[in-house]
Symmetry: C2
Subunit: 343 residues, 2 copies
């Protein structure tokens, strides 16, 4: 398994991607192509006591870097020698099995769609993070790539999310829920009302295990394995979760830092606190899968450190090994509406 | 100040509303009309050592109870002698200054709209809870009453939420944000894109302090005093917050219950834990204001205990004393779009 890694993307680049790649290589034996400015990549290695390129690590030179201020829709084209564009070209050519970047989400999404291309028949690629829920995590699809969605997009998100939960998270017969403000089929905006019967039909045909509408609270508590949403409401769900987690973590910190006695309490419960932090740490999961692209692409969190990058690389490898894209391709006809324009 | 309280609404009725009313009466001197089955109300008092109706507490008999299984849109009409309908009629007649119910949200909303009526010019009443945020709470408007909203509704929500934050929460020049998946004016669905310039114009005219789009994470962290949303996404926001809070509270409990040492830690930090729980307890706030109705109406949480009911009664009293409805009425022309149908 060979993973292509954007060495220049993210707040902590090139250090975090380079060190994450070295760790993944060492721990899991994953081969990595680091894409970016060769001299900077080598310098990071040198600064960390690695004088020679380890076996299984390659460098693909790319002179440009896509910055957060670049227009995400055009950056990959305007900067043809950026680490992102070069990496996606390598992926397209088959030089590696998956691509990981902690750079701009928008640029990665546009680049992956236009360079690597979507799976034939898939209308839009979606961002599918695994969010921390009471059942050990659920796939949220979409969380922001597609704000305006016709019903067919959500039908495809449901299928792709279900395959991902099964193939990558190892859930058997994953429960698929439509994010809504109530459980009755009449609930939601026009979009949810139209999508509901489509998912129900797919369930009747035995294609997905659609369990109906799921309210946000129950979704967080772990009622489903896959949360289907348009990008707007998926984003509200994801960011509210993150915000609430951060807010409560800060309040908890205050509580433990108050005085000597509370600091002692923190020591007594330190093992649990570590697990608690892990629960809320996006770095644990690694990154967000871009589902619908013809090759595995993982968006790592912009603030990823080397540990998070290592996890994202591991996740990319298991995505590539899962046969997920082949599965989506094989079942594409079930995810299309008769009225949809042919592509 | 006299508050009309639905003695039969909520999971813990009639006990919680009756005891909450007694406490509010004792602590704040609030006068209360308890609406419901007289004998049951008196029995609750008797069971709690109150043999005689205290001064300032009245009972208005209503023989029927609206159950959760009743159709919320028609229940208040079909059960004309329900505590909800009788209470709202009393409110309309001016026998009390505000109405509090922990019963069905839908029935309360329909009843308040059709019995007590909306403020002239207000297109839809909205549910406006105060959600726990980093800045000590923010008004979320709407959180589920209106799933499908034209832009004018959200313009009115922004005004009403702003007045509420100012008059009831005591925020000076409250910051109003439009819940969105990014800060740029182009972000969101068609609705948010259309609402943005309306709010901007209201801000330019010095009517509200619109600070732009607010992402869910920043809203939780306390970036604004008023979060403007359609009922669908407001519901996702609210329920995700609740779910995440409950999920993390449960994980924290597990952490502290693990063994003798962690239990000791819980004791050492018990004061802080109590505050932490308060932070996530909807009972602290009391209830959700129904804004846009011509008289103050508060929806208490269905699971309210007597403490939460007492708080809801206190909140109803401060709503009634605030002059909020008069303020909305005085500024109604600023909240209307020229194209909107006259009412």
């Amino acid at each position: 398994m060979k993973i292509i890694v954007d060495a220049m993307g993210g707040d902590n680049a090139p250090k975090a991607p380079v060190l994450g790649a070295l760790q993944a290589n060492k721990e899991y034996g994953t081969q990595v192509i680091l894409v970016g400015r060769g001299e900077e990549i080598l310098q990071v290695m040198k600064d960390n006591g690695v004088e020679q390129l380890p076996a299984g690590i390659e460098i693909a030179h790319a002179s440009q870097v896509i910055e957060m201020c670049d227009d995400p829709a055009f950056a990959f084209r305007e900067k043809k020698d950026s680490s992102l564009t070069v990496g996606l070209e390598l992926l397209k050519k088959g030089d590696g099995d998956a691509f990981v970047s902690a750079g701009s989400t928008g640029a990665l999404l546009s680049g992956a769609t236009l360079v690597t291309k979507r799976i034939k028949g898939i209308r839009r690629a979606a961002l599918a993070p695994v969010v921390p829920t009471g059942n050990g995590g659920a796939v949220l699809i979409d969380c922001g790539a597609n704000v305006k969605c016709p019903p067919e997009y959500l039908l495809q998100f449901a299928f792709m999310g279900s395959y991902y939960a099964q193939k990558v998270l190892g859930r058997e017969n994953p429960k698929v829920g439509l994010l809504n403000n109530g459980v009755e089929p009449s609930k939601g905006t026009d979009l949810q009302v139209e999508v509901y019967p489509l998912l129900q039909k797919a369930a009747e045909n035995g294609r997905i295990n659609f369990v109906g509408n799921v309210e946000a609270r129950e979704a967080v508590e772990g009622a489903v394995d896959v949360i289907v949403a348009d990008g707007y409401s998926g984003n509200i769900f994801l960011k509210t979760m993150e915000g609430t987690g951060m807010f409560l973590a800060r309040e908890m910190k205050k509580m433990f830092k108050k005085n000597f006695v509370t600091k002692l309490a923190a020591v007594l419960v330190s093992g649990g606190l570590k697990n608690f932090k892990k629960l809320m740490d996006s770095g644990e999961v690694g990154g967000t899968a871009l589902l619908g692209i013809s090759k595995p692409v993982i968006k790592a969190h912009g603030s990823s450190n080397d540990y998070a990058m290592k996890n994202a690389i591991r996740q990319a490898a298991s995505f590539a090994a899962s046969g997920l894209i082949e599965d989506i391709t094989a079942h594409i006809e079930e995810m299309r509406l008769p009225a949809a324009p042919k592509e």
